[in-house]
Subunit: 211 residues, 2 copies
């Protein structure tokens, strides 16, 4: 039957998909204190990727994950780890789809971030290659974050209303080997985004700039 | 500062995103018995959407979900419901990102599918609109599916090795109001895919065909 000529019995490979979409999938994992500026950075980065490069990019953040996929999770240690595990799995699906996943979560524990990285970089059975994982340390001193405190969370943490608050009463384990280290209190957001875009360009992760 | 001129404090709306990508996000939810042909259909549908329409489409199926995001879940009733809940949440994220999510799971219970639909169609606080949800009933008589039985699962179910197997020892609740009903034992796969693409075109869900 003529209509069967173009039938593909097997799924698209990641490479065929990338070629069709003119885009490589990857995950950009932002980590940093509350009020360090992760969300602002993520929003502007997503904008520029879509507008200037025409690539498919998507932010995963508290708003669309904590109240959706992870709404069954609380803040116990086990639940925090499961929270990050699921986010990493979903980011990986986006990256596998050929999209750029931008995750914006405090993700204070090195072990959790390393697990997210391994999930991307180490091919699982049936996969020929891993996926790029770009860890971005959005670094501001805790004093700066506490002074900003747009949601009044640091204040509540100091008052003991919020327990185990990262940077105050719970640790933030700073990345030792992040691909990108942004000193976010010293830069305007556009320069911080530029730092990320330059890294992506240098590593061949983006198509050429639209004319 | 000049670099601040193009800074966007607020996130892209779904509409801005759709305009940038020249694509509307939605979820195509395939449901049907084991061996009804869901995966074959999903693979070919994804191919055609990428190749002929240049749209970003991605399959969620047992391979990339059951062994990843949902690997902590078993087959108890609660776990099956949670399995479908998470798949629906992830599909929604893809649809929200402007992608076409194609889910390929038996999803035998009407209540679970209706919940997946509501999750898409009913805007949650902060969302201005819902997302399209296209339920596709991949319909083959259980006798046909059992005769195909490519993985020998029906045989094991008959022998009692697999308990609570959909269509044999557990119910399949056929959709009453699916957007698309495919009598998949009567059609070559290309015609089944055509039926879906025509529906999507008729409803304005796809950009024009590439020349």
């Amino acid at each position: 039957m003529a209509t069967n000529i173009t039938f593909h019995a097997s799924a698209l490979t990641r490479e065929e998909r990338s070629t069709q979409l003119n885009q490589r999938g990857l995950t950009i994992w932002l980590t940093g204190l509350s009020a360090s500026g992760k969300s602002t950075l993520a929003v502007e980065l997503e904008h520029q990727l879509l507008r200037d490069r025409g690539v498919h990019a998507y932010r995963l953040d508290g708003d669309n994950v904590r109240f959706g996929l992870n709404k069954d999770l609380g803040f116990s240690e086990a639940d925090r780890t499961e929270n990050i595990r699921r986010i990493a799995e979903v980011a990986k699906l986006f990256a596998d789809s050929g999209s750029i996943a931008i995750t914006s979560f405090i993700s204070p524990y090195r072990a959790d971030r390393d697990q997210a990285r391994a999930l991307h970089e180490v091919p699982t059975p049936g996969e020929s290659t891993g996926l790029p994982f770009v860890e971005v340390y959005v670094d501001v001193p805790v004093e700066v974050a506490e002074q900003r405190d747009p949601k009044g969370l640091y204040k509540k943490a100091r008052e003991g209303v919020i327990k185990e608050f990262t940077g105050i009463s719970a640790p933030y384990e700073a990345p030792a080997n992040a691909e990108i280290h942004i000193k976010n209190h010293e830069l305007p957001v556009m320069d911080a985004v530029k730092q990320i875009i330059e890294y992506l360009d240098k590593n061949g992760f983006l198509p050429a700039k639209k004319q």
